[in-house]
């Protein structure tokens, strides 16, 4: 979704081409409906209708797989297993209870949702290659059980189903209004309806707070937790929705093939699904449709050897031209270019030598995967979006409210005065093995102040930050937050998500934005707490859901305005200049409506003008009544901003006071510069090293 460097200074209103993107989406939808409706009347061959059915059914599954792969960024090799579970759920219901297709669809969705829940459990603990292996193991287990549970599944023999009866006119006591040919199409239209419904549902979910949470947990799970968005919960949602769609597709597949057998749902199918989602293009609706069409049609194309030879010739010619161009242009990496070009060219003699390439079907798929991984990582849709700006998604599509209603929408907490500390840390101890990163630190932060936390490398500042926000659970000690107007709350031992919702927001030393999301969407993730709608609201697009979205967008724009970022609202975070990324991270934290804001080295890597902007904004935040804790190495920033400064060294607090006072403290000078002469200085604290 490269919104890239495109119009960084565009007005906050949706730009012309973004609007165009929206229309292209709508036009695509209309075309799809017309195509699906007209197809069986134009092409009457039942072979091609069946082919289209399979494409549509696979597309339903792949749309669901995209939620897991594209949006939450997890690898699942278990979707063929889920597909099989759905198919068998439908088939077994018929085998034992003679229940028809509608029951089958319900069971398919229900049973696989439960399996999705099961699969989500390891997914909460592991990611990447581990999750790939776990899901692969899941798929293998499913296959074994289908094979072995003969009394239920009929074992290796499989289950045969009669033609699906979609509308049972007899039970209404009327005769079918259309003839035999029309009755055959009932199932076709049912699949089409399911596909269209799937597209609508997926579309609505991914544009809702749920979809944003999926993307956020992909880009930065830690930031996600610190925005009060529970990574656990949303991973479960993603897996269940994805599994439900796999189940729906499975049940439809069972009734479409009218035969289920254990070996149809193996490893190869799961890899094909992944190929489809990657090749078509992640995070889009068109991608899975294209990908599905490719994987279904490819065996048919490969069966026609003449067609294959022509295509191989074309590929070889293109590879030769591209290869020569690249070879002449880039001198340094000739080997990297040579391998794929030679492979592409060798493909032609290979097809000429072989009588049939059908046996090499899997090799072709394997080569396609390699090609997609290395040369088309964003898939066909991603490639087109890159080349044609008009095809890029209009991020603002829903609840277009993009204007800020003034600063009033920033939480104005007034002068949070008072002498009672807002945050009280008592004897915080954090031990890693033998190392005491914090050796019993007291800290007391007064409301409405900017409190600096400084110290040399390894002094325990970042550890303190992680203890305050729940990323580390302190070995001992207490952290208490006493926000005005509410009872004091213990924070130690709570999860990052709970602490965030209690009013403590943070930024990160190494920027942790949701990189593939726009600036506006980043802030909207911070506003997650303002959404109360359920997933049903999201799917149905209820008035409540639309109102919440509208209000949140207005708030988000107000925050971006406050940070001076409103003109960059539609730019993906990864494409923002570094200084703006820092500011956006603060803006996202403000969306939590915090009473306390923790800034972890916000000036690191910034240029002088950016630092000036930053200090101005931190002051503005304090003036809005939000208390700030600032960890920073730029001493001028610390000295210029902080009302009070605490100095850490070796996990101990060695000084505290006003900025000037601390600056002149001999203990601080020694911690930073070392003792002037006598190296074994007596004032140095006992190191916390074991």
């Amino acid at each position: 979704m490269a919104h890239s460097t495109f119009a960084p200074a565009a007005a906050p209103a949706p730009s012309a081409s973004a609007g165009l993107g929206r229309h292209i989406g709508a036009a695509g939808a209309v075309l799809l409906v017309v195509f699906l409706a007209a197809f069986p009347h134009v092409v009457t061959s039942s072979y091609y209708i069946h082919l289209l059915l399979v494409i549509a059914i696979y597309a339903i599954l792949i749309l669901g797989l995209d939620i897991v792969v594209g949006y939450t960024g997890q690898v699942s090799l278990g979707h063929a297993g889920l597909f099989g579970v759905g198919a068998y759920a439908a088939a077994v219901l018929f085998l034992h209870f003679k229940l028809g297709i509608w029951w089958g669809l319900l069971a398919g969705i229900g049973v696989t949702s439960a399996f999705g829940l099961l699969l989500a459990v390891p997914a909460l603990r592991v990611t990447g290659p581990y999750l790939a292996m776990v899901t692969l193991a899941f798929g293998t287990i499913v296959q074994i059980f289908i094979n072995e549970l003969t009394p239920i599944t009929n074992g290796p023999l499989g289950i045969t189903l009669p033609p699906a009866r979609v509308i049972d006119f007899a039970s209404f006591g009327i005769s079918p209004p259309w003839g035999a040919a029309g009755r055959k199409l009932e199932f076709y239209y049912l699949v089409c309806a399911c596909l269209l419904l799937t597209i609508v549902v997926v579309n609505r979910i991914v544009r809702s707070p749920f979809g944003r949470a999926f993307e956020a947990l992909r880009d930065s799970p830690i930031a996600c937790d610190c925005m009060g968005v529970s990574v656990y919960r949303y991973k479960v949602y993603a897996f269940v929705v994805s599994a439900a769609l796999a189940g729906l597709a499975g049940a439809l597949f069972a009734w479409s093939e009218r035969y289920v057998a254990p070996n149809s749902y193996g490893f190869e199918l799961t890899v094909l699904f992944l190929l489809a989602v990657t090749m078509g293009g992640r995070k889009s609706r068109a991608g899975p449709l294209i990908g599905s069409a490719i994987i279904v049609m490819m065996p048919n194309i490969l069966a026609d050897i003449d067609l294959v030879r022509i295509m191989a010739g074309l590929i070889a010619a293109v590879a030769l031209v591209v290869g020569i161009q690249a070879f002449l242009r880039r001198r340094e990496n000739r080997f990297a270019i040579l391998v794929p070009v030679v492979l592409c060219i060798l493909f032609l003699p290979a097809t000429l030598a072989l009588q049939s390439v059908t046996d090499f079907r899997l090799s072709v798929f394997g080569l396609l995967i390699l090609f997609v991984v290395y040369y088309l990582p964003d898939g066909i849709v991603g490639f087109l979006r890159e080349k044609i700006p008009a095809l890029r998604p209009a991020h603002t599509a829903e609840g277009k409210a993009l204007s800020a209603d003034g600063d009033a929408l920033i939480a104005q907490r007034g002068k949070a005065a008072g002498t009672e500390p807002l945050l009280q840390v008592e004897q915080a101890l954090m031990q890693f093995g033998g190392l005491k990163a914090l050796a019993g630190v007291d800290l007391s932060v007064r409301p409405g102040t900017i409190h600096g936390l400084i110290g040399p490398n390894g002094s325990g500042k970042s550890t303190m930050m992680n203890v305050l926000t729940g990323i580390y659970k302190p070995t001992a000690g207490a952290v208490t937050l006493a926000a005005a107007g509410s009872a004091p709350k213990r924070l130690d031992g709570r999860t990052p998500s709970e602490i965030a919702l209690a009013g403590v927001a943070r930024t990160f030393q190494n920027v942790q934005l949701f990189r593939e999301m726009t600036a506006l969407e980043n802030v909207l993730v911070g506003l997650h707490h303002a959404f109360h709608g359920t997933i049903v609201d999201a799917i149905l697009g209820t008035p409540r859901r639309r109102r919440e979205e509208r209000e949140a967008r207005a708030r988000a724009m107000a925050i971006l305005d406050f940070m001076g970022l409103s003109s960059l609202a539609q730019v993906e975070a990864r494409n923002l200049p570094y200084g703006k990324q820092r500011l956006l991270e603060i803006g996202r934290a403000l969306a939590l409506d915090p009473v306390l804001l923790l800034l972890d080295e916000p000036a690191a890597g910034l240029t002088a003008p950016d630092i000036a902007d930053l200090t101005a904004i931190i002051r503005k935040i304090r003036d809005a009544g939000i208390t700030v804790i600032l960890i920073e190495h730029h001493m001028d920033v610390v000295m210029g901003l902080c009302d009070r400064v605490s100095v850490l060294d070796f996990g101990h607090k060695i000084a505290e006071g006003g900025a000037r006072e601390v600056q002149a403290d001999p203990k601080v000078i020694e911690a930073y510069l070392g003792a002037p002469d006598d190296m074994g200085g007596s004032a140095a604290p006992e190191p916390a090293h074991a």
């Binding site: 690191a604 730029h634 001028d636 610390v638 930073y672 070392g674 190296m679 190191p687």
Partner: protein, 240 residues
């Protein structure tokens, strides 16, 4: 021995070093000092090829080494004892030392007598000799620092880069580390020293550069800077 001109480097979108120029003459000890985040460690990493510089030149004994991968920089004769020591925890002390001589043992640097050099390292750091068969991961912080320095010396380097050798060490051990640096200086080892503890570093170095926000703020003979209040200001802010 080492000449750096207009070196710029950074991570991702962030540029940390904005055109540094400095020299380390043969047989001398030069120190880079400055507060956290000034770019000292980044400079070291750029010199040894752990990150690729964006601009500028790095010449070691007249040979351009910028743009080389870190293993090729090591083969060219630059040894880097990194920040945080980074010893190989599951290998013995002896194996750690041996690996310091990897280019010599695999033919990309003159071999010489590796085991004699190992004995020299043990002579320099007697505590390592006691623990020669122990796994490096079980050593104390100070011992690991000595191992990291000994390991770097095993290359027979043309220049030795020491990054924060005193970090996280108790004062007594800091003293010990600096005693060894002084001894190496007497043996005419060319060194570039990065140090948080400016006073100690200035005490041992011949010449110093003070870094601030990725630029060289000022420079001069170490003895002179030691009494210069501007050094303090570079660390703790205030007027220069």
């Amino acid at each position: 021995m080492l000449e750096v001109a207009n070196l710029s480097a950074g991570y991702g979108q962030i540029e940390v070093l904005h055109g540094l120029s400095f020299q380390v003459p043969k047989g001398k000890v030069v120190t880079l000092i400055g507060s956290n985040g000034a770019g000292k460690t980044t400079t070291m990493r750029a010199l040894s090829g752990m990150i690729q510089p964006r601009a500028g030149s790095i010449r070691l004994a007249g040979r351009e080494i910028s743009g080389l991968d870190s293993h090729d920089v090591a083969r060219a004769g630059l040894a880097h004892s990194p920040e945080g020591r980074r010893v190989f925890p599951t290998l013995s002390v002896e194996d750690n030392l041996t690996l310091g001589a990897f280019p010599r043992l695999t033919g990309s640097r003159p071999k010489g007598d590796v085991s004699a050099d190992r004995e020299r390292a043990y002579a320099l750091f007697p505590r390592l000799k006691e623990r020669r068969l122990q796994l490096a991961g079980t050593l104390s912080g100070g011992e690991q620092q000595m191992l990291a320095m000994g390991r770097a010396l095993m290359l027979r380097p043309d220049i030795l880069l020491l990054d924060e050798p005193s970090m996280g060490l108790a004062p007594k051990l800091v003293e010990e580390v600096f005693r060894i640096i002084r001894q190496l200086k007497e043996e005419q080892v060319t060194m570039l020293l990065v140090e948080q503890f400016a006073m100690a570093a200035l005490g041992v170095a011949d010449y110093a550069y003070v870094l601030e926000n990725g630029r060289i703020r000022f420079q001069g003979p170490a003895a002179r800077l030691k009494s210069d209040p501007a050094v303090r200001a570079a660390y703790l802010g205030g007027d220069h």
